[in-house]
Amino acid sequence: MDFTLTQQQQQMIEALDELGQREFAPKAPRWY
């Protein structure tokens, strides 16, 4: 079985990662 991501899948993941990091990053990183 080939689990290599297609370009479309890779782009989708990158877009979601970017959105997630922007919207869900801890706002007050006291713990950082």
């Binding site: 689990f3 989708m12 993941i13 979601l16 959105l19 919207e23 869900f24 713990w31 950082y32």
Partner: protein, 346 residues
């Protein structure tokens, strides 16, 4: 962004993306928010999969429109107070009365209960007092006789309700039947249709764990103890490396189940029971371990609400339970391993 209902067939207005695409989206979103990821699961698997595979053309059209145009998140009503893992103990009944079915009974711990317009309810079907078997029927929110009871104060995943559904002489047209009770055939179809949901739940658990692991890796490269960063301690390196192995094993099991899914009607793809169960049994356990080990890297900071690890630890605990317990998955796998059915009631 088009992730809700992304697997809905083109002839019902969707993108008809393969199951693996939805799984990849779920896993990525869950790194940041498990609840949002669950919405992608509920609009691509679960009730939707059953309806697309077994429902009428009209049901498919209606539910697809609700998801794509109205943002509905279909609920699937299986669990009852006296029927959890032993689902076939359910007592909710659908009695044929003319052109309608009268539904009576109570469900609980129904994800999205109270907010979902579409509800696929598992019930025992009766006609002229004779039991036909367990089947599935659609009940819309707002139907007279259909109300909502207690909303659970859940440990995690609090952004989506887990509620009681109460049916008191709730009359729905016979056209709402998705799978008719037919001996043991109805429940078999419904449970096969539920395999997609199991893989989806595994993908949420994996995403939460991957998110926790990523945060711990970042933190360990900044936080210092004894004059060096945590990432320089070999014992801690090994813990994170071991977690990486677990995450990749889970990822491969989930990909295997999604990629090997069998096409049913409307190009709906359903994973095989043993592959879905393997993915869920494994991921449910390791996700908890990985989130717990990642939280440990933060010390007391990880135990505070300021840190996302605290939420992730509560959220991830659900996936050893919801969508079929780990033990139930292992029971099904045992059937596959020994190539025989074990009667749990004897």
């Amino acid at each position: 962004m088009g992730f809700l209902g992304m697997t809905i067939p083109e002839n019902f207005g969707g993108q008809e993306r393969p199951l693996i695409d939805a799984i990849l989206a779920v896993t990525t979103v869950a790194k940041y928010c498990g609840v949002t990821a669950r919405l992608i699961v509920e609009t691509n698997m679960g009730a939707l999969g059953c309806i697309m595979a077994y429902g009428t053309e009209e049901q498919c059209k209606t539910v697809a429109h609700r998801i794509l145009a109205e943002g509905d998140k279909p609920a699937i009503g299986m669990t009852e107070p006296e029927a959890g893992t032993a689902l076939t103990d359910l007592t909710t009944r659908a009695d044929k009365r003319g052109n309608c079915f009268a539904i009576n009974g109570k469900k609980h711990w129904i994800t999205g209960g109270g907010i979902s317009q579409t509800n696929l309810i598992f019930a025992r079907f009766f006609e002229d007092g004779k039991e036909l078997g367990i089947g599935g029927i659609l009940v819309d929110k707002g139907t007279p006789g259909f109300t909502f009871g207690k909303v659970e104060k859940a440990m995690g995943l609090r952004g989506i309700p887990e509620a009681e559904l109460i049916f008191e002489n709730c009359s729905v047209p016979k056209e709402n039947v998705v799978v008719m009770g037919d001996g043991t055939e109805g429940i078999k179809k419904l449970m096969f249709g539920y395999n997609g949901q199991r893989v989806g739940a595994s993908a949420v658990a994996l995403g939460i764990a991957r998110g926790a692991h990523d945060l711990a890796v970042q933190y360990m490269q900044k936080r210092k103890a004894f004059g060096k960063t945590l990432s320089e301690f070999q014992g801690l390196q090994w813990e994170m490396a071991q977690a990486e192995v677990k995450l990749n094993c889970a990822y491969l099991l989930i990909c295997q189940a999604a990629c090997n899914a069998r096409p049913l009607r409307n190009n709906v793809r359903m994973p095989l029971m043993n592959e879905a169960s393997m993915a869920k049994a494994y991921t449910g356990n390791i996700a908890i371990e990985v989130v717990s080990d990642s939280l440990q890297m933060f010390g007391a900071a990880g135990y505070a609400e300021d840190c996302p690890l605290e939420r992730m630890y509560r959220d991830v605990r659900m996936f050893k339970i919801g969508g079929g317990t780990t033990e139930a998955q292992l029971n099904m796998l045992a059937r596959h391993v020994f190539n025989r059915k074990f009667d749990l009631r004897k």
